[in-house]
């Protein structure tokens, strides 16, 4: 219980901070985050540029703020896509069982056998790198994980007696699925969603790192990190700052995830 509250507080604060940063960025940033100024590249931090400037003379602080908006936005959208697809598949294969399950299972295995990044790489190359492209690609890449979790919990729930009871009442399968099964997948899915959120932020940066992230000049923490790599020696802050933000955000997400997990734990529920 003690740890739960601790998680909630710390996680909440971290995420709150990041979100606040993003919201603020929507309204105001110190400088135009995409405005280049080649006369002052790679400036060290100063009163003028709090975190210095990047290789195009753009204000790092402003880009970090703008990056928060993009990174969080992309992550959120992606998670939604992954959930939508994953839940549909998971419910279907878990509840219908039989050949549906077999087929979907095979497809799922196939997708899981792909490294998620690679799947995204391929899809991106087809869709073309754009925000929506990345959301779709990563969404598809993570859907199988969701599907597996949902399927798992559906399989366990459908064995519970209240599902049988619902049948005994003469309720249709569909009704039973929606009324009695679906709600119970919520807990694991919510928990998963939080971790997903983290993974997506990571993957987006990884993609940027391989040159396929959210297209510049729009700033995401990922592509900032990526383009800072060549200047690691000259301007370490360029690499450290966005990475630190990602880490902070992920820490927040993970802690919240743990808190949720404890809150939604059936053992405490019953």
């Amino acid at each position: 219980m003690k740890r739960l509250r601790l998680n909630l507080v710390i996680g909440g604060t971290l995420m709150g901070a990041v979100l606040a940063l993003a919201v603020l960025a929507l309204a105001w940033t110190p400088y135009d985050p995409v405005r280049t100024n080649l006369r002052r590249r790679l400036r060290p931090p100063s009163a003028e540029y709090w975190l210095g400037t990047d290789e195009f003379g753009r204000d790092v602080a402003s880009r970090l703020m703008a990056g928060a908006v993009t990174s969080l936005g992309v992550a959120a959208a992606t998670v939604l896509v992954a959930l939508a697809i994953g839940i549909a598949i998971g419910l279907a294969s878990g509840f219908l069982r039989g050949w549906v399950d077999r087929v979907l299972g095979a497809v799922n295995d196939t997708l899981l056998a792909f490294p998620g990044i690679l799947l995204a790489l391929g899809l991106l190359a087809v869709i073309g790198p754009s925000r929506s492209g990345i959301v779709l690609a990563l969404g598809l890449a993570y859907a199988p994980t969701v599907a597996r979790v949902v399927r798992g919990s559906v399989l366990s729930i459908r064995e519970r007696e209240f599902v049988e009871a619902s049948r005994a009442l003469g309720n249709s399968e569909g009704y039973t699925l929606l009324r009695h099964v679906l709600p119970h997948t919520a807990a694991p899915v919510i928990v998963l969603a939080t971790s997903l959120f983290g993974w997506v932020i990571l993957s987006e940066s990884a993609l940027s790192f391989l040159g396929l992230g959210v297209p510049p000049p729009a700033a995401t923490w990922g592509n900032m990190l990526a383009s800072a790599r060549p200047f690691m020696a000259e301007a370490p802050l360029l690499s450290i700052a966005p990475g630190a933000l990602i880490a902070m955000c992920l820490l927040g997400v993970n802690l919240l995830g743990d808190a949720l997990r404890d809150l939604l734990d059936p053992r405490d529920g019953a």
């Binding site: 290789e55 195009f56 190359a125 040159g211 297209p215 510049p216 383009s227 060549p230 020696a233």
Partner: protein, 515 residues
């Protein structure tokens, strides 16, 4: 200073990387592995750079990209310009000790011209402009080649590094089945060990028959002065630089321009800068509904502060030029060098007239080549100041190249590899879009001029034509030529005789190590 220690660190790092470090070993950085040892066939820039140490052609380029005899004593062109006769130099031996004969030349040329071999330049020697119809060997020491009609390009094609200089190798370079084994050439170095992904090592050819005089381009005195040359593959820029500073490589042929100030400041290192003959440019699709209006294209050109842009992108290393013919070329003229000034007001007005209403232009670029990306970013920035909105479409290189070859773009930051003949510098973006969608400039009149320059062998008349074409280019702006990038080689004190040149891959002959 922290950074120094950092580099020292990296140095020790790379000491581990290449244990060998002897007086007679020259270590040169290679940014990526080579494709093959088959000259002009399976190749890229790096590959050519290795091959030209091993094989030589009848002719080769000088520093200024003009053509000079190499294996040939001299080149005699018949009055009708159809027959080229190459008397071979005496005393030339292959790496396997065999003397060079006309038969060897014919044998190599015939393989090059076979379709299935996929020689990079076969098509160039079998085109409307230049068609090689015969290779004959009147005697053991003479080779004669006949063309269908006169061509200004013929010798250049034979000399082009990307054609493997039509390099002549001994027939034992092939397997019994005719497939490529390994090059047995006449060059100053012979192929030593090629360890994929790690290094290519060449060894000195003791019996090399050097020309007299100074080395220039790929001709002149190419005497090998070191026992072994190792091209060490280091993909990472920062690492390569560190390796140089740590003394783990002796030549960094291609330093990042942004590292130059720091390297120049450093005692004991010499920077060898040389303008190359490539071309960085912005392409515009003249069939685009918006850009088909020449006023819009002019507006865009006027919106760019080219000198500022070039200074920023090349860190002041390159000189701005709106001509596709590189300043380093013997064909570049003063007229081509002056750069029209930026004029935002004018740009705005033209855009207005062209019916521009704030549509977003899409500029395609890639991160594969930092210059493309930086150009695009700066261009976007400068257009904005002229009230022209644009967004970057940052593609993976393969995709951009695909879009380029299909002409499927609105604007594109693009770079053309070195063209060593002024006609080719225009040809690379001039042509009928119907048959060659990649061509940016589709204008029959200009095409006609271009064809002239290709048939014309008199240098001065060609220059005149090129100036005319240049003028038209500035009017019609299908592309905005920006600059030719600069090759910056860096060597430590103990390396002597190294020089960068128009083509950015390094040359190891004439280089000496003295500690």
């Amino acid at each position: 200073m922290k950074f120094r220690t950092a580099l020292a660190a990296l140095a020790t790092a790379c000491a581990l990387a290449s244990p060998v470090a002897a007086q007679d070993l020259l270590r040169i950085r290679l940014n990526a592995d080579i494709r093959s040892t088959d000259p002009g066939v399976n190749r890229d820039g790096n590959t050519d750079g290795i091959h030209w140490h091993i094989v030589e052609g009848l002719v080769a380029l000088r520093d200024d990209a003009t053509v000079a005899p190499m294996l040939a004593e001299r080149v005699d062109v018949s009055p009708d310009g159809l027959t080229y006769t190459f008397p071979l130099r005496a005393g030339i031996r292959f790496h396997n000790g065999q003397p060079l004969t006309a038969g060897d030349v014919a044998f190599a040329m015939q393989r090059y011209m076979r379709r299935e071999v996929n020689w990079r330049c076969r098509a160039d020697l079998d085109s409307a402009v230049t068609r090689l119809v015969a290779v004959e060997t009147p005697d053991d020491r003479t080779v004669a080649m006949r063309l269908e009609k006169p061509s200004a390009l013929f010798l250049t094609i034979l000399a082009r590094p990307d054609c493997g200089q039509a390099g002549i190798w001994h027939r034992d370079s092939l397997n019994a089945d005719g497939s490529w084994r390994a090059p047995i050439g006449t060059g100053p170095f012979r192929l030593g060990e090629w360890r994929r992904g790690q290094f290519v090592e060449l060894t000195r050819f003791a019996d090399y028959a050097a020309l007299p005089g100074e080395p220039t381009g790929l001709v002149g005195n190419k005497a090998p002065l070191v026992e072994r040359v190792r091209f060490t593959i280091i993909p990472d820029e920062a690492a390569a630089r560190a390796a140089l500073l740590a003394g783990n490589i002796d030549i960094l042929p291609d330093a990042r321009s942004r590292d130059l100030p720091e390297l120049r400041a450093r005692p004991g290192f010499t920077v060898h800068s040389s303008p190359s003959m490539d071309l960085q440019a912005v392409l515009m699709q003249t069939r685009d509904p918006l850009l088909q209006d020449v006023r819009m294209r002019r507006a865009i050109a006027l919106a760019l502060d080219v000198p500022e842009l070039v200074r920023a992108v090349s860190e002041g290393g390159s000189r701005p030029s709106r001509s596709p013919i590189p300043p380093a070329s013997g064909f570049n003229t003063p007229a081509m060098l002056d750069v029209p000034a930026r004029d935002l007001a004018q740009a705005r007005r033209l855009a207005q007239e062209a019916g521009y209403r704030g549509q977003k232009l899409r500029i395609i670029t890639t991160r594969r080549w930092e210059a493309f990306y930086e150009i695009a970013v700066v261009v976007q920035d400068m257009l904005k100041e002229a009230g022209i909105e644009s967004e970057l479409e940052v593609l993976e290189w393969a995709t951009q190249l695909d879009r380029y070859s299909r002409g499927d773009y609105q604007m594109m930051a693009f770079g053309f590899s070195a063209r060593l003949d002024p006609s080719l510098s225009y040809e690379m973006f001039t042509g009928p879009k119907a048959t060659q969608p990649r061509k940016a400039w589709d204008n029959p009149a200009v095409q006609a001029l271009l064809d002239q320059t290709m048939a014309e062998t008199d240098a001065n008349r060609r220059r005149a034509t090129f100036e005319a074409m240049h003028a038209r280019l500035l009017e019609e702006v299908p592309i905005i030529a920006l600059y030719s990038s600069t090759t910056n080689g860096v060597t430590p004190r103990h390396v002597q005789g190294y020089r960068s040149w128009a083509v950015d891959a390094p040359r190891a002959w004439g280089v000496r190590i003295s500690r």
